[in-house]
Every structure is written in structure tokens, then in C-alpha cells.
């Protein structure tokens, strides 16, 4: 077996606990309980191993990573190893004191999520009263400190109309970057798909709003736009290809090629408790399962784009086509592409109520 190039990024999901309950959360339906979370010493060792194998950036995520009291120790250690440290947070637990500690520990960047530009709607979507004022205060404190800030908005049918207001908010708050990211439909997003999936007119309006803001902002604010792949012709290169660029560690220490991989049945998920990150990346059956192109069925195998999109998303193939090694149904050449068309066609006129992301609310 040829040696796989090292991963660029590590997504460290420190905990699944979170004060918010967003119905499109990227965490798995079966959330890890607090009792099963890795201890500080193990995370510190994981940082050592990640830096040694060539990881360049660590994204501290969750759940809400600020719910872990040892976050600052992990950031300090990662920074001392030369890793680029990014905090992905809801901001509701952030205050002047803990921000100062993180900043002094060497944190490089913060990505702060908002559920909407409208406070009332944002708090309904996130399922947390009082969240918006805390987020606005967090943004103000981060900008005041001078840490680079990216605002993240997840877009769906119930907030798409306010993309222009979200871009205005990003400008008012003084951010460097803003992500306008349409929901991806697996896990909680798939469970809530009818409540979230926009129609094509809504999608196009968000594209126009982003184009207009790009003209207005010029180089001052960068906008990352993520399209909902249900309306794309070709699948996204999910995670930049399975086992190629990203490594994800769950709160309990499972090492995954993507944050949704645990949804694929019949697989053994290696753990940092039992093995080294390097061995897991190079040698585990899980990371080699869909690495490269050998595993691909037709029409992927003879497709000219197979090394552009790497066959799309394995979890989406499983969820919609029933097999993780099927062609991603999003692809217009997939034999199961009708399932995407049906989901769009059968989308109810009125969105059903959210199934909020809570422990034991899905399984």
C-alpha cells in the first residue's frame, strides 16, 4: 500500500454538549454523553501526534467547545506545537475574561455562528432564548480584541430571505469573513429536511444577495458561499475526498474521515484511546475503505470528474441510495438521482415543526 499524504486539518469535536439545539446540527443523531468524553491528557497527546504527522490546522468544535473547561489548555498546547488554532463556537458562553485567556493562549481565529440576523427567529431556530444578544456581544468582544473573526450562517427555507440582512450584520460587526452556508442534508439536517430545504427561487435569491455583497465589499470582507447540493448538477468533493485531507475526532475519541461517518453501519471505528493517529490514518480499514478511486462503482469509475469530486458524499449515498459505496444521488448521472428530485418535488408548502437536536430526540 502506498503511503497516504498526511491530513491538512483536524476537526476536534471536544463535546456534543451545547446550549443550542439547531435542527441542522452536523453532530450525529446519537450524541456522545459527557461521561464518555476524552480526558485532557488524551487530547494533549492527540495534538502532539497530529502535529508530528503533518496536520496544519486544528478546528476546536463541538457541540459547544467552550463547555469544556480545558479548552484553553488544549489551545495553548496546540499553538505551542505550531498548529493553527481555530475555535468554532456559538458564542453564548464567551465573555471578556475567557476570551482574553484564549487570545493569550495563542488562539488564531474564531468562527462564530448565528442562526439568523433576526433575533427572535434566530432564537427560535437555535432553540435558545436570549442567545442573540450573547452572540452580538461575543462578536463585539472578538473584534475589540483584534482576533480575526468569521461569521457563519447556516441557510435554509426559514431564514433564506434574510441573507441580505446577515451580510449587513457581518459588515456592521467588523468581521473579515462571512460564510453563507446552505444546510447539508444528513443527520439532523436530513431528519428535518422538509422544514429546511429551500426551493430553487429561494436559493437563487441567496446567490444574488451574495453576488451583490461581493461587489459592495470588494476585498474588505470575504464571503464563502456553500450551495445546497440538492440543486447542484454534480456532487461536492465531500471532505476533499475520504481520508485525503481531513481527520475528525469525536468527543469519545473515535477517529473518522468525516463527522457523519458513524451513520454508516457495519464499520469499525478506530479510537485514539487504543491506537495512534498516524496508524489509524495510514493503516485502518476505515480510512482506506473509500480512499482514492478503486472502490468506485460505475458511472463514477469511468467518469472524467472522479478525481474532482471523489465520488461525492458516502453518508449521503447511504442515506438516500441505501449503500455507502453507491454513486452520490446528487450526481445527475447517478441511478438513484430521482430520489433527490422527489425530495425537492415533495417538499411541503408549509414547513413542519423542527425536531430539535437534543439527547435522545432522534433515536
Amino acid at each position: 500500500m502506498t503511503k497516504a499524504p498526511p491530513p491538512m486539518s483536524l476537526l476536534a469535536e471536544l463535546t456534543h454538549r451545547c446550549p443550542l439545539q439547531c435542527p441542522y446540527c452536523s453532530n450525529p443523531l446519537r450524541l456522545d454523553p459527557r461521561a464518555g468524553e476524552l480526558d485532557t491528557a488524551t487530547w494533549l497527546r492527540v495534538m502532539d501526534e497530529a502535529a508530528a504527522m503533518g496536520v496544519l490546522q486544528v478546528h476546536f468544535s463541538g457541540g459547544e467547545p467552550m463547555a469544556r473547561p480545558d479548552l484553553v489548555d488544549l489551545v495553548r498546547h496546540a499553538a505551542s506545537l505550531g498548529l493553527y488554532t481555530n475555535l468554532i463556537t456559538s458564542g453564548v458562553l464567551l465573555n471578556r475574561e475567557n476570551l482574553k485567556t484564549l487570545s493569550e493562549a495563542g488562539l488564531d481565529h474564531i468562527q462564530l455562528s448565528f442562526q439568523d440576523a433576526d433575533a427572535q427567529e434566530g432564537e427560535r431556530i437555535g432553540g435558545m432564548a436570549g442567545a442573540q444578544a450573547k452572540k452580538l456581544e461575543a462578536a463585539r468582544l472578538i473584534v475589540e480584541d483584534g482576533l480575526p473573526l468569521t461569521l457563519n450562517f447556516v441557510i435554509h427555507r426559514q431564514n433564506a430571505a434574510r441573507v441580505p440582512a446577515m451580510l449587513d450584520l457581518a459588515e456592521q460587526l467588523g468581521t473579515r469573513r462571512v460564510e453563507i452556508a446552505h444546510t447539508q442534508y444528513y443527520g439532523w439536517g436530513l431528519l428535518n429536511r422538509d422544514a429546511l430545504l429551500p426551493d430553487r427561487a429561494q436559493l437563487e435569491a441567496t446567490e444574488l444577495a451574495v453576488a451583490a455583497a461581493r461587489t459592495r465589499f470588494g476585498n474588505r470582507i470575504a464571503i464563502d458561499f456553500v450551495t445546497p447540493d440538492y440543486y447542484a448538477e454534480r456532487p461536492k468533493p465531500c471532505m476533499g475526498g475520504w481520508g485525503q485531507r481531513f481527520i475528525n475526532i469525536s468527543p469519545s475519541g473515535k477517529v473518522l474521515p468525516c463527522h457523519a461517518a458513524e451513520s454508516i453501519p457495519g464499520l469499525t471505528f478506530p479510537s485514539v484511546v487504543e491506537d495512534s493517529l498516524e496508524r489509524i490514518w495510514q493503516e485502518s480499514p476505515l480510512f482506506n475503505l473509500y480512499r482514492g478511486t478503486d472502490w468506485m462503482p460505475e458511472p463514477c469509475q469511468s467518469c472524467a470528474f472522479k478525481e474532482d469530486d471523489w465520488g461525492g458524499c458516502r453518508c449521503q449515498a447511504l442515506a438516500l441510495a441505501g449503500q455507502a459505496d453507491a454513486t452520490d444521488p446528487v450526481c445527475h448521472r447517478a441511478p438513484t438521482h430521482d430520489r433527490i428530485k422527489e425530495a425537492v418535488a415533495r417538499r411541503p408548502a408549509t414547513p413542519p415543526v423542527f425536531r430539535y437536536r437534543r439527547y435522545n430526540n432522534a433515536v
Binding site: M8, G54, L56, Q57, Y84, T150, G174, N219
Partner: protein, 96 residues
């Protein structure tokens, strides 16, 4: 907030907070580390960016590179100014 600046030889570049040049010992390559992404710095970019210290002007950087590589100053100047402009536009460098 970074405002788009037109680059001149008198400009003094520095890395914006949250961006830096970093040598990756595993891949044996230089990278620019930036929010949410790391991108490869090719050999020319790495030579230029190693001289960025927040004090040295682009003019001085051009002089040093032109001497180091025994290359015509105007050729080096073109590379350095173009890269400084591009990285200022991408919010990697701030120009004072």
C-alpha cells in the same frame, strides 16, 4: 479593518493577525496559514515572505532578493509588488 491598498515600494508589509508563514517539516514545504485554510507558498513566495517582518519596506526586500539571487532589480520588483498586492487583497498582508 483592511482597506484595499495600492502597493508601492515604500510600503512596509506585515502579516495580519491570524495569518503567518510556516515551514512544514513533514511535507518540506512552506505554507501560508490563514483563517480556515492553509495554502502552499511556492519557492518564490516563500523567499519573499520570509523577509516580511513589519519593519522592512518592499524596496529593501527587493534590494536584498536581487542581491541574493544576482537578478535584475526590476524583475524582482515586479514579482514582489505583484505578490504584495495579491496578498493584501486576500487579507494576508497589511501594508503600512
Amino acid at each position: 479593518m483592511t482597506v484595499a491598498t495600492s502597493v508601492a515600494e515604500t510600503s512596509v508589509p506585515r502579516f495580519a493577525r491570524g495569518t503567518r508563514l510556516q515551514y512544514d517539516r513533514v511535507r518540506e514545504q512552506w505554507f501560508v496559514q490563514a483563517p480556515e485554510r492553509a495554502f502552499l507558498a511556492d519557492a518564490v513566495a516563500a523567499e519573499i515572505l520570509q523577509l516580511v517582518n513589519g519593519k522592512r519596506s518592499l524596496a529593501l526586500m527587493i534590494d536584498q532578493l536581487s542581491e541574493k539571487f544576482s537578478a535584475p532589480r526590476d524583475v524582482i520588483a515586479q514579482d514582489v509588488l505583484r505578490m504584495a498586492q495579491e496578498l493584501a487583497d486576500r487579507q494576508v498582508l497589511l501594508l503600512a
